[in-house]
């Protein structure tokens, strides 16, 4: 029985990891930007849930919806002010602009809210569902459901709507997309905002299940990079599957090996993927060797 519980917990955690990583892989797939501040954005989402709960009594699943406009605004600002200026400017600019954003976010959080561990104390956070002798954490279940739902919506969006196809066009060939009079800047902006919303949402959904503090962005960020590399950069299906795999591995190794070595396992996976199949499960061959080129 415990094994079934572990697998379920792993899958649900995996769903959340998938949600985090979907934002990252979407941003990379379309803008060709690796968002080094991704973990920190997740952290902000977690804090949003915390403050909404502590100050306003809002349960996380309400914050999830209410905070979306905030995430969108934030994503828009970061895109307009910073990310847009890094496109086509070469590695140094692209890497260190988002690294810098990450540093600012993490330390601003530290200054504003200190490094203390915070937890959301609410009935919701501890809620557990019991089905035939198996226990399942409700927040994680909700997160899992949302992850699947968001993935589904994104899939429909990208494949069935005109706007979504425009996004895919830009992802495949920005220059031709321009020639087709697709406003690539707008597509970039919307995709980036979408990615930020995804990761902010993931943060809100994760908040009940983890301690919340500024540095937590780093460890989750690392996980999302591993998931994306495993799944294949730019692949949504990869982020989903990769998320599940990592979630399962984490829960199982946490149980059998103890929490300390959990992160060492990520590194191991990362290394194995690089050695054996660097494009990941679904990635295009060569995406990881692309780096970010100069346009001029």
């Amino acid at each position: 029985m415990i094994f079934v519980e572990l697998v379920l917990a792993g899958l649900m955690l995996g769903g959340v990891y998938a949600l985090i990583s979907i934002g990252l892989t979407l941003i990379f797939g379309v803008l060709r930007v690796v968002n080094f501040a991704h973990g920190e954005m997740l952290m902000l989402g977690m804090f949003a849930a915390y403050w909404a709960s502590t100050l306003g009594g809002l349960p996380p699943y309400v914050t999830a919806v209410a905070a979306l406009p905030l995430f969108a605004l934030f994503g828009w600002l970061v895109y307009r002010l910073i990310v847009r200026r890094t496109l086509g400017m070469g590695d140094v600019v692209q890497i260190f602009a988002t690294v810098g954003v990450g540093v600012v976010l993490q330390n601003a959080a530290l200054v504003l809210w200190t490094g203390d561990f915070r937890t959301i104390r609410s009935g919701y956070a501890d809620a557990v569902l019991r089905v035939g002798g198996i226990q399942v954490s409700v927040p994680l279940l909700v997160a899992f459901a949302v992850a699947i739902g968001v993935s589904g919506l994104l899939f429909l969006f990208l494949n069935r709507t005109l706007e979504g196809r425009a996004v895919r066009a830009v992802a495949q060939d920005p220059i031709s997309a321009l020639a087709l009079a697709i406003d690539t800047d707008r597509v970039y902006m919307r995709t980036f905002v979408l990615g930020v919303c995804c990761v902010g949402l993931a943060g809100v959904l994760l908040a009940p299940s983890y301690p919340i503090f500024p540095a937590i962005g780093l460890s989750f960020g690392l996980v999302s990079y591993v998931v994306v590399v495993l799944g294949g950069l730019g692949s949504m299906a990869g982020a989903l599957l990769g998320g599940f795999v990592i979630g399962l591995i984490e829960v199982l190794s946490g149980y059998f090996l103890g929490t300390a070595l959990k992160q060492a396992i990520y590194f191991l996976i990362f290394v194995l993927v690089l050695l054996v199949r660097p494009q990941g499960l679904f990635g295009q061959r060569g995406a990881e060797t692309m780096g970010f080129g100069k346009i001029a």
């Binding site: 690796v34 690294v99 530290l110 780096g291």
Partner: protein, 324 residues
Amino acid sequence: MTSTRPAVLLVVVLGLMALPLTTSNDYYLDIIVQIFLWGAAATAWNLLGGYAGQFSLGHAAFFGIGAYTSSLLLTGARVSPWLGMLAGALLAALFALVIGYLSIRLRGPFFTLSTIALTEVLQILAIHWRGLTGGSEGVSLPNAASVWTMTFDGRRTYAYVGLGFLLLAVLVSWLIERSRWGYYLVAIREEEDAARSIGVPVLGVKLGAAALSACLTAVVGTFYAQYVLWIEPAHTFSIDISIQLALMVIIGGLGTLLGPLIGASLIIPLNMFLRAWLGAAVSGLYLVIYGLVLVLVVLYARAGIVAEVQRVMRRHPVPRQSPA
């Protein structure tokens, strides 16, 4: 890719040698030691990041390996840090070769991603392998001044030892800059595919640069341990160190000989000043400023501050007096 003129270098070296003599104040001497220390580490980072264009955010790992190796050898086996330093350098080079080999096909941001993971893992190992590393409490080093244990009485002496390491790093960079290897590094940075098509042995060059950079960084890590006399995982294996090194070099000028030192001499005093002004309580604020500086420099002055200043000056040359 112009090589720095020897005359300029000589003046700079002489200036640096005179610097520790200009003050007896411990506070200022500490700043000087740190400028030399971090200048040396930044120069080491520059080999891989500036010349080869491979941006590592994992150099704290090598720094920490150097610090821990020599410290554990000293406290555990009474090995002199001068020797422990060599062991640390070797170990760091080994790690660099392994990581480098795995990441060899990764370009740009993906290479950077792979370097971040290493520091994290080492930090975790350092925290949990208490039997070896003393866990979160870290390692304390004996205070007794003795050349053999690389421990000195006055900060001024530390400054000169630190200067020695800085000059070592600069010398290595200078030699490489003028050698075939240096040309290969820059070629790879500029256009890796074109470099391959004209015979540049990319694998060997990148791995060599990574190993050398790691060695030098580890050596500075040993000196750091011997200066602060206490190391622990959170600060030694910290990504903040890696980011700081990158920041210094970017500000001073990537791929230039003296850029890293210039960056260090701007950042370190800024660091100390901010800490004093904002107070230790507001511990993250100076890092917020760092982050902002990094973003601004990279967006608007990515050739480095020195280069930008030169550029502005060239457009507005100082008017010369007409000859009498």
